[in-house]
Symmetry: C2
Subunit: 563 residues, 2 copies
């Protein structure tokens, strides 16, 4: 164990757990890793230690889980790696977002204060919290009516998961919480505040979730006043106008925080960042022309550019939002991996489950093997990947999924493969839209959880996009990205790096194995993709609004049924 | 056991088994029933006692199975009911069709003659035999090119399952069998020949499967000559021009046949008839305005009329073909119950199978219960019922199935219900086409196997068609229909009936329970049906030929794969 080696810690706050990594700054090698499952996870039924029942769309979290994650994970890293605390030269965090919470002016969450603990509005709202849908719709309409320029940067729609719909929900539902809140803040900034005692707002969350941009700042007071006169001065009263670039040193680790983690006080702590965005440099993507695809329950597509292009239907475009000096575009597929989970849970016959048990493999593995035996187009099936609506390009949450081509000989593995293919056709649609809008894509790197191990999906990605598919080496790219940004915050004189590009060059790596398209399958997939496009445009652009009419009818029926 | 009571026997030759019923002529009551599973069933791999391998589309049968069915079932009827053989006043048969076989001039099947037994062309071709598809296509094209008037009576298309495509297949593939065949005959006529020693051709099979009509007879010699000069005189050389009405006495039971069945020689035997058509009078449908729906792996829709209307896209229109004196229209849904079997075999999760086992009910029962808990339109799903193409209205075997409206919360029971609904929407499409063409439908009676016990399907039928659904009482309507026609063949002086209408009045009954539509669900189904129609017309009338393109691509890929 060389005493000269320098390390940074990256902590990624996911939905159900936090993962901490200890990384060798010289080569990005993982010295230790540790995971902490939140005690409360997503709170959707009742508030903790209380009888207060929650709205069905609620997804709250417990601030103590965030602090406990620090206490439980970081000491293990040091123990496991047997390095000295002095070797840790920086700490960085990544966080889900928009996850927001109201606090006092010293950062104490209102949820932890006796007077507010029984009010759901006092609790951190996780990004999955969807109770502010009506607020989001009204915000979008307001922005459209006022010709707000910021709307273009967000594909024309404000998402219910973002900062201001949730803030408005607090304002509308609990004046006591709203008034008591000196600050309403992203969790990605709150955790940095806890570590350093310094309140900041990171550019990533502000840009992608808070309607902020480097050129225009936040929306005008008149916009907020149009929401409600009481919100006119929300920025100055509840937030901060200074937005901090990524990879900066926010402050130093406080005595208290150092004790939690058994570290030495004074270690540089870097700017907060959103989890998916932190994964981008850790997937080696730090320059224009490279796209990082983060494969999870949903898919996210991050691409960098020198110039600002208006790309229709993306999720967000933020200057310096992922990599300082570059414009970071984000697109998404809300269904993503959820399509495959849905299939496994709802459409795999018992006979197949038996076969998987017999072969002692998972049902995912069995289905992948069976589906991989098929040739492209062999099933005669084609699908539209809209089980969770269409997030990018069409930006329409009310679209639903479709499968076409069923025959009496259609097999489950054929349906599974059609879902994989449809999801990747959706990815190609995003690609083509970026390229057609002027944003070049010369290289694809994928990262994410188990899905990067799905060889069939990788093969389909290569042949549908007609590009070589490279895979990030680290299984924990969000945590690694946080650690990389920490190395930039600590800087070269302490053993870190000058820029995230330098850090990426040394610390981020790709797997050796890549997936290369082949000529035959590329051609077949071009033909299938043209069928996908025809259906995509027919159902997506209003030629036949069956999906929306059926969804409306469904909602009416359910409302009646529930009384 | 009253000696005065008179009985008839009906024998229904199905695909895998034959079912015989002994029926009280006075009230149609079932005195006994017996079933015989064919030893050979459908022969699709190798010829019996031979190494001759068969074409993958082959579906042959063994003539001995047909005779063994008589030997095994009829004696049991008498034994079980303990009636005297003298009480049996008539025998009738119903048969699948077009099921054809080549024979010598005494009716001996060539398949049973040493010289021909190793030639697949010598064997009975079951209706499911699909090796003559190319012949059917060429026949259709020929008829179109020659402006043949008969094509209108068959929805514009000659089916590969019918008589002449199969005959042409024999002619083209085996001149030795074709030349040795003194007769090529429908099995529905051959079995009557075996019972009576008299060769006849029944109007039902000749009309629905043999391109014959009362007005025009068979197609002209020039048509057959256009197929092949060697076929010019096929009718006179291999068949018979006299066509026998239904419910006639063809002849009397021979000594030999009486021995097989332990009956008395001389019993009247009635004209042959196809199985589904025999079910119509047994479902009480003997007059215009009533539609019988036969629910099986496919659905068949039979309606009677006084006048001849050109109904687009039906399967056949035959004067006297079901009930003497009336025009019998037949339409069909090739998918029918096969949709539900496909679903149960390919799309029910293991968890559901476990639940069914726990509740000790079948998976069909469990799925029906779960699907019945849903309201119409609650799932947000809609489907096109074309898993086996579209048989009637669009008459397009290359169409495939579709499901639209999937979300991450879509449950298997919702998909099952969407399949039930889509199949019934297809039924309504057939109804509306008949009505729009001038053929009134005032009453619906369903019959068939287990599907009439599916209460959810019955409920959906009522609410989608907006008519009361009545159900035939007998579970064996094809066999009962054959027995009813036997009672007409034996006539009033022997204790039978003058007409099939008289027989139906006494011998055919409906279940007491009927299914009545309700106002709310009717309205919701009207809305869903309008969505079905939009998709039906878009994909069915060539606005988007995705289904056909994908099917072609699939066939190309499979051809390549198989080398």
């Amino acid at each position: 164990m060389s005493e000269k080696k320098k390390y940074t810690i990256g902590i990624n706050y996911g939905t159900d757990s936090a993962r901490a990594v200890l990384v060798d700054v010289s080569d990005g090698k993982l010295a230790a890793t540790s995971e902490y499952q939140y005690t409360h996870g997503i709170i959707s039924d009742k508030l903790p230690d209380s009888n207060v029942e929650l709205d069905p769309d609620s997804a709250l979290q417990h601030p103590k889980d965030y602090i406990n994650a620090l206490k439980r994970t970081v000491p293990k890293l040091l123990k496991e790696s047997q390095i000295y605390p002095e070797q840790v030269i920086g700490i960085g965090t990544a966080f889900t977002g928009s996850t927001i919470l109201p606090t006092t002016d010293d950062g104490t969450p209102l949820a932890l204060i006796e007077d507010y603990r029984d009010d759901p509005q006092a609790w951190p709202k996780h990004w999955k919290h969807h109770a502010a849908q009506d607020k989001a719709n009204r915000l979008t309409q307001l922005a459209v009516d006022r010709f707000e320029t910021f709307l273009d940067r967000y594909g024309g729609r404000i998402n219910a998961e973002w900062f201001f719909p949730k803030l408005w929900e607090i304002f509308d539902n609990s004046s006591s919480v709203y008034n008591a809140a000196d600050r309403i803040i992203e969790a990605s900034d709150w955790i940095v505040w806890q570590l350093t005692g310094v309140e900041t707002r990171n550019i990533c969350a502000a840009g992608y979730k808070g309607l902020w941009s480097k050129c225009e700042g936040f929306p005008l007071e008149t916009f907020f006043a149009a929401m409600d006169p009481g919100l006119a001065n929300v920025i100055d009263k509840k937030m901060k106008r200074e937005i901090m670039p990524l990879g900066e040193q926010v402050g130093e680790l406080t005595e208290e925080a150092a004790k939690w983690m058994k570290l030495i006080p004074g270690i540089p702590v870097s700017t907060g960042i959103l989890d998916a965005h932190a994964a981008v440099p850790a997937a080696t993507v730090v320059e224009p022309g490279k796209m990082a695809i983060i494969l999870g329950t949903s898919f996210m597509h991050m691409i960098l550019s020198n110039k600002e292009y208006r790309v229709p239907g993306m999720c967000g475009m933020v200057e310096d939002g992922i990599i300082p000096g570059l414009i970071g575009y984000e697109a998404g597929q809300a269904g993503g991996g959820d399509h495959f989970t849905w299939f496994m849970q709802n459409a795999v016959p018992g006979e197949y489950e038996k076969e998987a048990r017999k072969q002692k493999i998972s049902i995912y593995q069995l289905m992948e093997e069976k589906a991989a035996e098929l040739d492209p187009a062999e099933s005669g099936l084609i699908a539209l990947d809209w089980w969770n609506g269409n997030q990018s390009i069409l930006v329409d949450a009310d679209l639903t999924g479709l499968i076409l081509g069923y025959s009496l000989s259609t097999k489950p593995e054929e349906i599974y493969r059609a879902l994989l293919e449809a999801t990747v056709f959706g990815t190609r649609k995003i690609f083509e839209t970026f390229i057609a809008s002027g944003v070049p894509i010369n290289e694809i790197i994928v990262t994410g959880g188990n899905l990067t191990k799905n060889e069939l999906l990788m093969y389909i990605l290569a042949n549908v996009t007609r590009m070589e598919i490279k895979i990030a080496e680290s299984p924990y790219t969000s945590a690694l990205g946080a650690a990389m940004y920490a190395s930039v915050a600590s800087g070269p004189e302490k053993g870190g790096y000058e820029t995230i590009q330098d850090a990426s060059k040394q610390m981020a790596h790709l797997q050796k194995k890549t997936y290369v398209p082949n000529n035959n399958d590329k051609k077949t997939y071009n033909r299938l993709y043209s069928e996908y496009t025809l259906l995509h445009d027919y159902f997506g652009y209003g030629h036949n609004d069956a999906m929306k009419r059926l969804k409306n009818l469904r909602i009416n029926i359910l409302d009646k049924k529930r009384g």
